[in-house]
């Protein structure tokens, strides 16, 4: 936990910055840029990067009953995992299933490291973020080669366009048709045009939390009054795969920095 002492300082800064932004009510793209600049100026590091550093430490730390760390298989600091996130979600032979970042890490921890009841908490998300950063600078390159990948992609596409729930919403209606416009003061992401899958996991300055794509998907469902799928549910994997494939060619830059 090399940089843990930075956290209280960061939280203070984030609080101040968010407050400042609320008072200004400015153009959202400008707001993100300004927040980032201010945090960098004050701290020299963004909160998301602090989490990623924590993730690196946890990655190298022995956990579970098998006496292994992630690095026992994937190399110190995950040097054998460089570029892996660019092809995720994908099919894994040992699982005989398609997994997203979260689900794959959970599987590894449980199956190979002997960790019991893996929780989707900040430590877990920090590891996920660190793994994603190992593909930074590379283009997203998700392939649909395995039949299970194709099937999962189709499921994701179906969910993307499905009008559901009490609000009759789909992912598409907000993030294709009305992307770039505002719900209240919140600008809707243009998921496919802007290839947003390339910057998740991300640090959200509005609630000072690290989120993986699963958290983002669950958050969206919650907002349209649909009970979110639990973590590691196929719906998260399907939508993650759909969005990642649609983001192919975009340069991976994690952790993202979003509102």
């Amino acid at each position: 936990m090399r940089r843990l002492w930075l956290l209280p300082l960061l939280m203070g800064a984030v609080g101040g910055v968010v407050f400042y932004a609320l008072a200004q009510q400015e153009n959202p793209a400008e707001e993100v840029k300004k927040q980032k600049e201010m945090l960098l100026k004050e701290m020299g590091i963004l909160p998301g990067d602090v989490y990623a550093e924590q993730g690196r430490d946890l990655f190298n730390k022995v956990m579970g009953t098998a006496g292994k760390s992630c690095s026992s298989c994937h190399g110190q600091d995950g040097r054998y995992l460089k570029g892996s996130y660019a092809h995720m979600p994908r099919y894994y032979k040992d699982m005989d299933a398609v997994a997203d970042l979260d689900t794959r890490i959970k599987y590894c921890m449980e199956k190979y490291m002997g960790v019991k009841e893996v929780k989707h908490d900040t430590n877990f998300k920090s590891i996920a973020t660190f793994v994603a950063t190992l593909s930074n600078g590379m283009p997203m390159d998700v392939k649909l080669e395995n039949p299970k990948e194709k099937e999962m992609y189709e499921k994701g596409k179906q969910l993307w366009y499905a009008r559901v729930g009490k609000m009759d919403f789909s992912c598409a209606i907000c993030h294709d048709n009305f992307g770039g416009q505002r719900i209240r003061l919140q600008t809707l992401a243009r998921v496919k045009q802007d290839k947003v899958a390339t910057h998740w996991p991300a640090y959200r300055f509005s609630n000072d939390q690290l989120w993986t794509m699963e958290d983002r998907i669950r958050g969206c469902y919650n907002q349209i009054r649909v009970t979110p799928p639990p973590h590691f549910h196929w719906a998260n994997i399907a939508l993650s795969l759909y969005m990642a494939y649609e983001s192919n060619g975009g340069i991976i830059e994690t952790p993202g920095f979003v509102r």
């Binding site: 203070g12 407050f19 559901v164 209606i173 009305f178 719900i183 209240r184 469902y221």
Partner: protein, 187 residues
């Protein structure tokens, strides 16, 4: 010493943030009661993503129904509209004002601007500023809020009446809020 510096840093950053005094506060969000929260949590994702026939028809990349289906679609959607038992489509605009803003009820500001005092309004739907001055058909307003899909196939505007988010009486109140010359929407 390091700790002091950290504390000092936080305080300084907070103190430097400008105050929000000059901006009007957004309306306080009424918190859902614990009971209401529990009731919502009862359903699962699988149950919640079950679609009605109209939702199924709208679930495509075009975001609408084919031209030859539109008339039939409207007819089906019109059938879903119910009216207040007393037959009054225009209710109490002051109640409507609350319902319009309440995020658990109309939540209309998510997409529409209306009262100029509310700055936190979305721009997905058209602005409703001075709505009553350019629209006199209250039946249209009522039906549009009750079931927007009776007028625009697969509209992004959710069918507040069909899904029971608003009762017929509540929709009549919002209709009043949009049409009344007394309402801040039309001032």
């Amino acid at each position: 010493m390091k700790n002091y510096l950290v504390l000092l840093g936080s305080v300084v950053v907070f103190a430097c943030a400008p105050t929000q005094q000059e901006k009007p506060k957004p309306a306080e969000l009424p918190k859902p009661t614990p009971q209401a929260k529990q009731e919502e949590k009862k359903t699962t994702f699988e149950e919640d993503i079950k679609q009605d026939p109209a939702q199924k028809m709208c679930s495509n990349p075009q975001g609408t129904v084919s031209a030859d289906m539109v008339a039939k679609f409207f007819e089906e959607q019109k059938k879903l509209i119910k009216y207040p038992p007393n037959g009054k489509l225009v209710g109490d605009w002051k109640k409507g004002e609350q319902l319009f803003a309440n995020p658990r009820k109309g939540n209309c500001y998510a997409c529409h601007c209306a009262d100029p005092k509310e700055l936190a309004c979305g721009n997905i739907g058209p602005t409703l500023r001075h709505y009553g001055k350019r629209q006199s058909d209250v039946k249209y307003t009522y039906e549009k809020i009750y079931n927007s899909w009776a007028y625009v196939p697969c509209s992004i505007m959710y069918r507040a009446g069909v899904h029971g988010i608003l009762t017929p009486e509540e929709i009549a109140d919002i209709t009043a809020y949009l049409h009344s010359p007394e309402s801040p929407v039309n001032k």
